[in-house]
């Protein structure tokens, strides 16, 4: 009796909502998968149900990997993404820690000022920014993106981390410092590990946004081999008024699934690893 009650409550409160989310969030993704596997000859065949595959082909993947520079685009994207994420995350941890933990004059102002930077949309900013990029001689180099992406990553990552650092009780760090640890040691050994979920989610945030970015990648890099996955695929696979849907969707798959698998380990780490142990301590 109790057992079945519990089961039904889990069904309604957990599994059904999860099923809803799975369908809503993954349906478009399923569609991308289907299109990436569908032979061209069936794409416009409206007599058969477009939602399943009567035949499938890996041709689009083969095309993407051998007839385009996709591997090179993936490398570029990875270099830029790792660089920008590392830079943003390091600066944001420090910034977030300063804003969230220290009392100093101008603290609120500094927090607000960072925020201001966000209020100008990239669709406008890229024109003046392209002048800066050119002036520094970064045009068409990895640095063009590694240094400009943080402009939209640092504000949010800092704020997220600031919020996160504030949820950690001050006493923990003060205890450590009374025990003789320096500020740095207290931060490095006590606070940072406790803030790991926040750090990882800021990292995931930065990584994803860098991975996806299109406009800066198109304008500041985007020549020759220096294309990222989004820029390369869109430039190479849309020919005038004809979309090569199969390879485009194959690129969407190859450009996201590996990242999702990597996230699987991170998210799991911060969720299961910490709930039980660290925060309690």
């Amino acid at each position: 009796m109790v057992g079945s009650n519990r089961l039904s409550s889990r069904l309604f409160l957990l599994y059904l909502p999860l099923a809803f989310f799975t369908v809503f969030l993954l349906f478009p993704f399923y569609w991308m998968l289907i299109i990436s596997l569908k032979p061209n000859s069936l794409l416009l065949n409206m007599k058969i149900n477009p939602l399943y595959l009567t035949q499938f082909t890996l041709e689009h993947y083969r095309y993407l990997l051998t007839n385009t520079d996709f591997p090179r685009w993936a490398l570029n994207t990875a270099v830029v993404t790792f660089g920008a994420t590392f830079l943003s995350l390091t600066s944001s941890i420090l910034m977030g820690y300063a804003l969230g933990r220290f009392r100093f004059r101008g603290g609120n102002l500094a927090g607000t000022a960072i925020f201001l930077a966000y209020l100008i949309p990239p669709t406008l900013l890229f024109i003046p920014l392209s002048q800066v990029v050119a002036r520094f001689g970064l045009y068409n180099s990895y640095w063009a993106l590694i240094l400009t992406y943080p402009t939209f990553l640092i504000p949010f990552a800092s704020w997220l981390l600031m919020g996160y650092f504030r949820t950690i009780p001050r006493e923990l760090e003060e205890c450590a410092m009374i025990d003789g640890a320096s500020r740095f040691q207290a931060m490095w050994r006590i606070i940072l590990p406790l803030a790991l979920p926040g750090v990882l989610s800021a990292g995931i945030f930065s990584f994803t946004l860098s991975w996806n970015e299109f406009l800066y990648a198109l304008v500041f890099m985007g020549s020759g081999e220096m294309k990222t996955i989004p820029v390369g695929t869109v430039s190479d696979l849309i020919r005038a008024d004809v979309f090569q849907w199969g390879p485009l969707m194959a690129a969407a798959m190859l450009g996201s699934v590996p990242v999702a698998i990597a996230y699987m380990f991170f998210v799991d780490q911060y969720v299961s690893g910490l709930t039980a142990g660290a925060v309690k301590g």
Binding site: P50, T90, P150, W211, L215, A252, Y270
Partner: protein
């Protein structure tokens, strides 16, 4: 770029100086500014100049083919006030922002709460449900373009197959349809972002408090309100705030799906600024002014939310 230089310096010098440096470094304001410097350096170099230049451009008649322009004061702003398409753009942006953000917040919160529970295969699902946010928007927008396509849409196909409609639905063909379609695609893309930020916040919720509350007979909703919410409130507000900004400044999704059409009925700030400024008309000054009209709106909104965050902390 990191704290490393400070650390290495202290190790290399004799003890007394080291003590003094250490003492100095333990002073909060000094450390605070030191910690903020790498971030500020990047923002100042790559943000402040473009920021002010952007404002300057909005006060000139600069075009895309001309790296300078005459100062025209607030003419561009005044002109927009009389532009009916711009009025519609403002309205659309508000609809787009204020419809999608609450959905993203509520759905993201629910999703985070769900993903925070134990169930089989949960790590796989956690990663999989992030996918909408990971797929490059340039490509996922194309997938939505197909889903809403007048020819290829599987929705139309199914409804037709079930005999519910006669001809394909014009998902992007009327203002109402198009705005709903755009909102759904935006919610789809943004929900996982809320979920991941909130999920991180949930990790700071003390489990023992939850357990204690449960023993005292609090139900789920009460426990959520009394135990969970206070801890994650700051993160909720910050995430919402940033999401509002991004949604207001969105571009790519609308650009790929409608480019503001049909008949300018789905423009948001980003796409209209693009149409006037970059994509064709080339009037950078007006394009910049369109973008900057967002500034006061977002600034007021941010001020309210930020005040709230700070009042909670005090």
């Amino acid at each position: 770029m990191t704290t490393a230089p400070a650390g290495t310096v202290t190790q290399a010098v004799p003890l007394r100086l080291r003590e003094r440096v250490r003492h100095w470094l333990d002073s909060e304001p000094v450390l605070a500014y030191l910690f903020m410097s790498p971030g500020w350096l990047i923002l100042l170099l790559f943000m402040s100049y473009p920021f002010f230049l952007g404002i300057w451009i909005s006060l000139t008649d600069r075009t895309v083919g001309l790296p300078s322009g005459e100062f025209v004061g607030f003419r561009n702003y005044a002109e927009l006030l009389r532009d009916r398409t711009f009025h519609l753009t403002v309205m659309n942006t508000f609809i787009y922002g204020f419809v999608t953000v609450p959905f993203k917040l509520v759905l993201g919160l629910l999703l985070a709460l769900l993903l925070n529970q134990a169930f089989p295969m949960r790590n796989v699902l956690r990663a999989a449900l992030l996918l909408p946010w990971i797929v490059p928007t340039a490509l996922s927008s194309l997938a939505w373009l197909m889903l809403y396509d007048a020819v290829l849409s599987p929705f139309s196909w199914l409804l037709k197959n079930w005999g519910l409609i006669e001809s394909n639905i014009a998902f992007l063909g009327t203002r109402t349809n198009a705005i709903i379609s755009l909102c759904i695609a935006n919610i789809w893309r943004g929900t996982p972002f809320f979920a991941v930020a909130i999920l991180a916040g949930l990790q700071a919720v003390p489990q023992e408090l939850h357990e204690a509350a449960a023993i005292e007979g609090a139900n789920r909703v009460q426990r959520f309100l009394a135990v969970t919410l206070p801890v994650i409130k700051g993160i909720l507000v910050i995430t919402t705030l940033f999401s509002i900004i991004w949604t207001f400044a969105d571009f790519q999704l609308v650009y790929v799906l409608t480019k503001g059409g049909p008949a300018n009925s789905t423009h948001i700030f980003g796409t209209y600024a693009w149409q006037i400024g970059i994509g064709g008309a080339g009037k950078l000054g007006i394009g910049a002014a369109i973008s900057l009209y967002m500034f006061p709106v977002l600034a007021v909104l941010s001020a309210i939310l930020l005040r709230y965050v700070r009042s909670q902390e005090a």
